[in-house]
C-alpha cells in the first residue's frame, strides 16, 4: 500500500516513514520495508533462528556483511584468536553470508571494517533509505538522512526472512544547535552535551532530528559521530537532513548512483528535508557557544561534564536512591566528590570505534599527537574504523606520526569499545576513550572509561591524564 503522505508540512523522518509502509494494521502497527540490512559477526543468533525455521534469506542483495566485533586488530588472521567461541562468531558470519549470497567483505578484503563505517563509505547508506542492523549504533547512518535503527536478534531473523520489520510510529524530537562551535569543540562534544542535557533516557521512543547552524557546518564524518550516539540518549534513531555536504560526500562512492542517476537521485533527495512548519513532538535548543570539550565521569553517558568541571557530590543529592546510585558509581570509577576532571591520570587511551574511527577523527587526534609523545605508563591505541580509513591515514602519513609518538597502530574493528574480541583493559585501569559507552565493565571487567573526543583522547595520551584540549598544541 505505502501510506499516502498526509497533506501537511512533514518532517524528514515522516517522509521516509510513510514511503516505507508496506502494510498498516487497523491497530496502527506498521510493516516497514527495509532497503538495506547490515549484518556483522554479532548477527549469528539471527541467522541461527532463520535456519531453525528452515527459511532462506529473502533478499541477499539488500543485505551486506562485514565482521567487526570478534576479529583481531593485530593482523588479519582469525586463527590468531585464541578463544574458539570468538573465532566461531567471526567465521559464522562469513559462512552465513556465503551460503545466502550476501555481499561480504572478509578480513582479507581491504574494505573490511566496522559496519557503521563501511556502509556509508561504500555508498550503501543513502538519504531516504530505511536501514537496520542488529547493533544499537545503527543510528549512525541517520547522518546521511537515512532512517536507521538497531534491532535485536529476533528482528534480524525477521528482516532476513521478510525484508520487513514491524514498528509503531515513534515520536519526533528536534534538537537545534544554533551558532558556531568554539575552537577545540567537536561533534563528540555536541552529542555528549546533548545527552548530559536530556539524559540517557531523554529521547526514548523518539527519533531525533539534529538541526541548526552548528549541525549544518559539520562534515559528514562529524554528523556520523553525532547520530551514532543518539542511542545513548535513548533515541530510536538520529537524523540530519541531507544537504550539499551529503551529496558531495556520496558522489563517486562505489554503491552511490553515478552520472545521470546521481543527478536524479540528488533531485529526489532534495525533497527530503523537513518542510517549513513541520511539527515535532518535542524541541530542544542547545546553543553551540555553550558547549565545551566534554568528558564523562560515570557509568552512563549522561554522567558527563565539561573538562573544566568537577565530580558531583552525592551528599548534595536529596533523593536517597539517586544518592546511593551516585555513590556506587563513584566507588566503581575510583573518584571522589569535588575532584577536578582535568588531571585525572589515565593508563589507557583508545582512539577508534563506530563513533570516532573515521579519517577526520584520526586527523584531529594526529594534530595533537604530533606535538609530543605518549606519557610513561600510558598504553595508547589507534584503531582505524575500516581498511579504507587505514589506507587513507597511511597515505597521509598519520600512521608514522602516531607510531613515532608512541601510539599503537592497529587493524580495523570494534576493538576496545566493547572488547568482544579480547581487546580489553585490566581491572581498575582508567581510559580516555573515543567510544560511546562508559558502562560498568564495558571495556573489560573493572574498566573505568571516560568518553571524550579524538583530540581530547590524544591529549590525554600525551599528558598521561585528562586535559583540556584547548590548552595543548594542535587542540584548537
Amino acid at each position: 500500500m505505502s501510506l499516502p503522505m498526509p497533506q501537511r508540512p512533514l518532517t524528514l523522518f515522516e517522509k521516509i516513514w510513510y514511503r516505507h509502509v508496506v502494510h498498516q494494521r487497523d491497530d496502527g502497527e506498521c510493516l516497514l520495508y527495509v532497503d538495506y540490512h547490515l549484518v556483522q559477526d554479532g548477527s549469528a543468533p539471527g541467522f541461527e533462528m532463520l535456519r531453525q525455521k528452515g527459511l532462506p534469506v529473502r533478499m541477499p542483495k539488500r543485505t551486506f556483511g562485514t565482521p567487526d566485533h570478534y576479529i583481531p586488530t593485530i593482523g588479519r588472521d582469525l586463527s590468531t584468536m585464541a578463544d574458539p567461541e570468538k573465532r566461531a562468531m567471526a567465521q559464522a558470519l562469513e559462512n552465513d553470508c556465503r551460503e545466502a549470497g550476501i555481499p561480504f567483505f572478509g578480513l582479507q578484503d581491504a574494505r573490511q571494517g566496522i559496519i557503521h563505517v563501511v556502509a556509508p563509505e561504500q555508498g550503501i547508506t543513502q538519504p531516504g533509505r530505511l536501514m537496520v542492523c542488529g547493533d544499537s549504533h545503527t543510528s549512525t547512518h541517520g547522518a546521511l538522512g537515512a532512517l536507521a535503527f538497531g534491532i535485536g536478534a529476533s528482528e534480524v531473523a525477521h528482516v532476513l526472512a521478510t525484508q520487513t520489520i514491524w514498528q509503531r510510529q515513534p515520536r519526533t524530537m528536534k534538537i537545534e544547535v544554533p551558532g558556531s562551535l568554539p575552537a577545540g569543540v567537536s561533534a563528540k562534544d555536541i552529542i555528549l552535551a546533548i545527552i548530559g542535557r536530556i539524559g540517557a533516557g531523554g529521547a526514548v521512543g523518539h527519533v531525533i532530528e539534529y538541526a541548526g547552524q552548528a549541525i549544518r557546518d559539520l562534515s559528514m564524518e562529524a554528523r556520523m559521530t553525532l547520530c551514532n550516539m543518539s542511542i545513548e540518549a535513548g533515541a530510536r534513531a538520529g537524523m540530519v537532513a541531507p544537504d550539499e555536504t551529503t551529496y558531495e560526500w556520496l558522489q563517486g562512492r562505489p554503491q552511490a548512483p553515478s552520472g545521470a542517476a546521481y543527478e536524479s537521485c540528488v533531485a529526489q533527495w532534495r525533497q527530503l528535508p523537513s518542510d517549513p512548519g513541520a511539527r515535532y513532538d518535542r524541541e530542544v535548543v542547545i546553543p553551540a557557544h555553550e558547549i565545551e570539550p566534554m568528558v564523562t565521569w560515570g557509568n552512563s553517558p549522561e554522567q558527563v561534564g565539561g573538562i573544566s568541571g568537577r565530580i558531583p557530590d552525592p551528599a548534595r543529592e536529596s533523593d536517597p536512591q539517586r544518592r546511593e546510585g551516585l555513590e556506587r558509581t563513584l566507588a566503581y570509577m575510583g573518584l571522589k566528590a569535588g575532584q577536578a576532571l582535568a588531571g585525572l591520570p589515565v593508563q589507557r587511551v583508545f582512539i577508534g570505534s563506530c563513533t570516532n574511527g573515521r579519517i577526520e577523527d584520526l586527523r584531529s587526534a594526529a594534530a595533537v599527537a604530533r606535538h609530543g609523545h605518549v606519557a610513561a605508563g600510558v598504553e595508547a591505541w589507534v584503531v582505524p574504523g575500516s581498511g579504507l580509513v587505514k589506507q587513507q591515514a597511511e597515505a597521509e602519513g598519520l600512521h608514522e606520526l602516531f607510531l613515532s609518538a608512541g601510539f599503537q597502530w592497529r587493524d580495523p574493528g570494534c576493538s576496545m569499545c566493547l572488547g568482544t574480541n579480547g581487546d580489553i583493559m585490566q581491572p581498575g585501569q582508567r581510559s580516555a576513550s573515543t567510544s560511546n559507552r562508559n558502562f560498568v565493565g564495558r571495556q573489560g571487567p573493572g574498566s573505568r572509561t571516560h568518553l571524550v573526543s579524538p583530540a581530547m583522547a590524544a591529549a590525554a595520551a600525551l599528558q598521561g591524564c585528562l586535559v583540556d584540549v584547548r590548552t595543548v598544541k594542535g587542540g584548537q
Partner: protein, 195 residues
C-alpha cells in the same frame, strides 16, 4: 513463542535508573549459544564477587526471589546495546514481567519477541510498587495482560500496551509466520518501488 498467561509472583525490586543491557548480560557471554541457560549469566558481574561467589548484598541473590517472575526497576531499564541475550538471561532465570517507568526501545521490542511482558507505569506508580516491596518483601504482584492491570494487595494500576504487541504475547504468535501471510503486500511494494 509461549503464550503469556497471568503472572502472580514475588517481585525483585531494582530501584536503579539506566540499567543497561551490558549489566544485565555482560560481554563475555555474548558468544555463548542460545542453547545455554542464560539465567546463569544474568547480572553476572554485579551478582558475583571477584572470586565468582554470589554476593549476598545483591537483591537478585536473595533466597526469597528464587521463584520470582517479576522485576520492578527504575527508568530506562535495558538501555544501551541491542543484545537480545539480556532478555534471554531474564527469561531463562524465570522472569516473565519487567515493570519500569521507561525502557530502552530495542530492549522493549526484544522482550515482546521472547514472551516477556515489559510494562510501563508512571514514575509515581513504580515508586509506589517499590515502596510496597520495601515494606512487604514477600508481597505478591499479579499481572493480567488481558485486563492490562498490575495488582498488589492494596492497589491496582492499569497499563498501556500496543494492541499488536498484546495480541502477539497473548497468543504466542510467531511474527515471521504472520508476516509471511502478507507476502503479496511485500511483493507489491517491491514491484512498485523498483519501477
Amino acid at each position: 513463542m509461549k503464550a503469556f498467561q497471568t503472572v502472580r509472583s514475588v517481585a525483585v525490586p531494582l530501584p536503579r535508573a539506566n540499567v543497561d543491557t551490558d549489566q544485565i548480560l555482560p560481554m563475555p557471554f555474548l558468544q555463548k549459544p542460545r542453547s545455554d541457560n542464560f539465567g546463569h549469566y544474568l547480572f553476572h558481574a554485579i551478582r558475583r564477587d571477584s572470586q565468582g561467589k554470589m554476593r549476598e548484598d545483591f537483591v537478585f541473590n536473595h533466597p526469597r526471589y528464587t521463584q520470582a517472575r517479576v522485576v520492578v526497576a527504575g527508568p530506562n531499564f535495558g538501555c544501551g546495546s541491542s543484545r537480545e541475550h539480556a532478555v534471554w538471561a531474564l527469561a531463562d532465570a524465570g522472569f516473565e514481567v519487567v515493570i519500569a517507568p521507561s525502557f530502552g526501545d530495542i530492549f522493549y521490542g526484544n522482550c515482546l519477541k521472547n514472551g516477556m511482558l515489559p510494562i510501563r507505569l508512571t514514575g509515581a506508580h513504580v515508586e509506589f510498587l517499590l515502596q510496597h516491596l520495601a515494606d512487604n518483601p514477600e508481597a505478591l504482584i499479579q499481572v493480567d495482560l488481558g485486563l492490562q492491570t498490575v495488582t498488589t494487595a492494596n492497589a491496582s494500576f492499569d497499563f498501556d500496551i500496543d494492541p499488536f504487541a498484546k495480541h502477539c504475547l497473548l497468543n504466542g504468535l510467531d511474527q515471521i509466520d504472520y508476516t509471511l501471510t502478507l507476502l503479496t503486500d511485500i511483493e507489491a511494494y517491491e514491484h512498485r518501488t523498483s519501477s
